[in-house]
Subunit: 451 residues, 2 copies
């Protein structure tokens, strides 16, 4: 029997990230300044980002070298394993082969550490002493806390207040790594105070927390801001996932028919799929790329393609992307990482151009597949990652129906050990799917900024 | 730079477990029947254990083959990585090399799955439909739940009531794998009812939960009992850890000067150390074997060496071991897996014969090393495993003091992601060390059974 896990040696770890901007038939339109609505230049981003990352954001080079200092930290958990889900295949009685790349082996428990490490590195290199960021459920906050701890940077995390109280374990984990975790909205920023004046009991939101973190970073010389998804340089860093997976699929002597990942801000999907998109765009390979999102926040499947702000307050540049409108408030589904009104401009453009497919599911079906996966393969998946699992299950059943040996590859972006209360809700039959009603979508889209 | 992680291929996974009974200069005295006080035979154990495991319990064969069906499941996560803790070495500024074997990569998050899988397998093979067990903090309950799910067995877990309510995540995790989790004491067994009659608000204890699970298994033809530590066959299964670690140390071109593991019931320590004890006993290798326990439950360092019961009710055979007395109630330290009055007879005998060293620490020092380890290496360790980390740190600092390149190997038996409330307590300065007062020890030992 061939191996269950396909491993790479540390020396087989990628030496460069892949930049899809070199190969896209159409690039997204440039980000616009939130006030002047003119294209933003490096000087607009300098108050909150280091030049190393700004250069990556706009680079058209196909390959960008991974610094040794970053590779050294990556080696704590990378290369991550590629696993053949044989027991899941058996449970589904499918002729398909199901492979999954497992990013939950990172100390942060998710793929987020792939970008928090280089972000901390470039900031440190340019003399920054402290990073500010926001976090919802806490995956990103944990990853940035660890990266800052590795490089000796201070870290302040504005955590959405309701999560701060409901997800105490992720808060604790950030504190173990020395971060200062602040429930948002807070009294520390003017945007926080403004919200609290109107509503002292505000539970907070990701949009508010972004505004607070950006304000914090913009106001202090020694402090920059860090973002866990959406931006080009973030996805660039995540391409280590897909680059490794390609080498591992080669070792397994297979090329995937379909590559699947869940998609919130797009960094997990892009990180997995872009190296395969390269084969499709440059080498003419036939490979389907499938981004999966929740029906309650159907950005790629039902959103508008155009300019929108990244945050609620309108502090960030306008990005060219699929969006449900910055004021759209997604319902409280358990895949907190997929509750974002917008999406990566790169992923959005590729969906618009028909290079990437998108599909949306309700969370009940997603959790059903998650439990099937756990009972077959042992690993408890994160609710976000379970969207990809459900798509893989659908593809495997379609292959069975068609009687074909389809090769399915998906990214298991993280484990769900700190999401167990969500599994309780599923097992107790308490999950609600929240499909977005047409009239609510229309209302949300009517509020889009005029550019 | 040499690799950070030393990996084995799946085909390098051990094909047999190592049975130290073949090599011990003195074997422990035999278990005695709890009522007759005569040595127990296989027929006494048959009502609750399958013959496959009973044979392993008493076998003197040095090598016992691992069945293919068990190896197939092991391959979901084994071989586990051996990691060089370079960043920890740097933080300690020590000439020592620190290696750790990481068992937290198992789907259960700990080494416990190494034995729950073969236990489920042998029971399934002998026609058993259902297993009953107890769990305290939940590590063992999770591992047995997963193993039963893999082999299609039903699983009932009697979970100490206070943990059932305080550790809801581990309870949920068992339920995701389909187990029936019952807060103990319960109305389902006569031992449970007896306790509840006296004290309806009883928070339960491991000793009570064992009594309930044994009673459940003894009373049903289709049901057996499973234990997560202490017994010979349990430690036998865990030797995959040390056998892999030996191969990995060879690849790293080093032999350890000291092998360290935490010790509660002994399965984690024995699993790691016994394959190295083989080298010491048979090949005359100079290697120190160090078992680490809490000062609040100092079984090996301050206990009595003699016969005692394994549970509170006195249902189990009398075992020849170090014990603090079955009625000793350890204080509520955070390393729940180390709160056991007794210890493995095999480990106890080796300590008594001077082949294994034992050392005890207070939990404050242990958590201090745990946080240092997390910030250096990324991985958040379980409180139990952190006892081994603290010993490794002490050894590394002693090596620095002596100016010698000591080779230190320890077992990181599990991650601490479901123990984050313990880290909160540490960060808030709320940990208490609870050294066992002499008069309390004397009182506990005075209650030992007369044999």
């Amino acid at each position: 029997m061939s191996d269950t896990k396909i491993l790479l040696k540390e020396k087989e770890m990628p030496e460069a990230w892949y930049n899809i901007q070199a190969d896209m038939p159409n690039l997204p339109k440039p980000p616009l300044h939130p006030v002047t609505k003119e294209p933003v230049g490096p000087q607009d981003l300098k108050p909150i980002f280091p030049m190393g990352l700004i250069e990556q954001e706009v680079s058209r080079d196909r390959w960008i070298e991974i610094p040794d200092e970053v590779r050294e930290i990556y080696r704590l958990w990378r290369p991550s394993p590629l696993c053949r889900a044989r027991r899941l295949e058996k449970a589904l009685d499918t002729p398909a082969h199901i492979y999954y790349k497992y990013e939950g082996v990172s100390p942060a428990g998710s793929h987020k550490l792939n970008t928090s490490v280089p972000q901390a590195y470039y900031n440190k290199k340019e003399g920054i002493k402290r990073l500010a960021t926001e976090t919802g459920a806490g995956q990103w906050g944990v990853a940035l806390s660890q990266a800052c701890s590795f490089f000796g940077l201070e870290c302040t995390v504005y955590m959405v207040k309701v999560s701060y109280h409901q997800k105490p374990y992720r808060r604790s984990l950030m504190q173990v790594f020395g971060s200062n975790v602040i429930p948002s909205p807070s009294e520390l920023t003017s945007s926080g105070r403004k919200i609290l004046e109107k509503d002292p009991d505000s539970l907070g939101s990701l949009g508010i927390a972004i505004s607070e973190a950006v304000e914090d970073a913009a106001g202090r010389e020694d402090t920059n801001y860090a973002l866990g998804s959406v931006l080009n340089h973030v996805i660039l860093h995540q391409t280590v996932i897909g680059l490794e997976a390609k080498k591992q699929m080669e070792k397994a002597d297979h090329y995937p028919d379909v590559v699947i990942a869940c998609c919130g801000g797009g960094s997990n999907f892009g990180g997995m799929a872009f190296p395969f998109a390269h084969d499709k765009l440059v080498k003419g390979k036939k490979v389907r790329l499938l981004a999966v999102e929740p029906i309650s926040c159907p950005t790629l499947t039902r959103g508008h393609f155009g300019y929108d702000y990244g945050d609620v307050a309108g502090f960030t540049p306008l990005l060219w992307m699929y969006t449900l409108g910055k004021d759209f408030m997604p319902p409280g589904i358990h895949a907190g990482g997929l509750r974002y009104h917008g999406d990566s401009p790169l992923v959005s453009q590729l969906v618009h151009d028909g290079i990437v497919e998108a599909r949306a599911y309700g969370q009940t079906a997603v959790f059903q597949s998650a439990v099937l996966f756990a009972r077959s393969e042992g690993v408890l998946p994160a609710p976000e990652s379970s969207h990809a699992i459900h798509a893989a299950v659908e593809e495997a059943l379609a292959a069975k129906e068609a009687g074909e040996k389809r090769i399915i590859l998906f990214n298991l972006s993280g484990h769900g050990l700190l999401d167990l209360s969500s599994y309780d809700a599923y097992l107790e039959g308490k999950l609600i799917d929240y499909p977005l009603p047409e009239e609510e979508l229309e209302k949300a889209l009517a509020a889009l900024p005029k550019v």
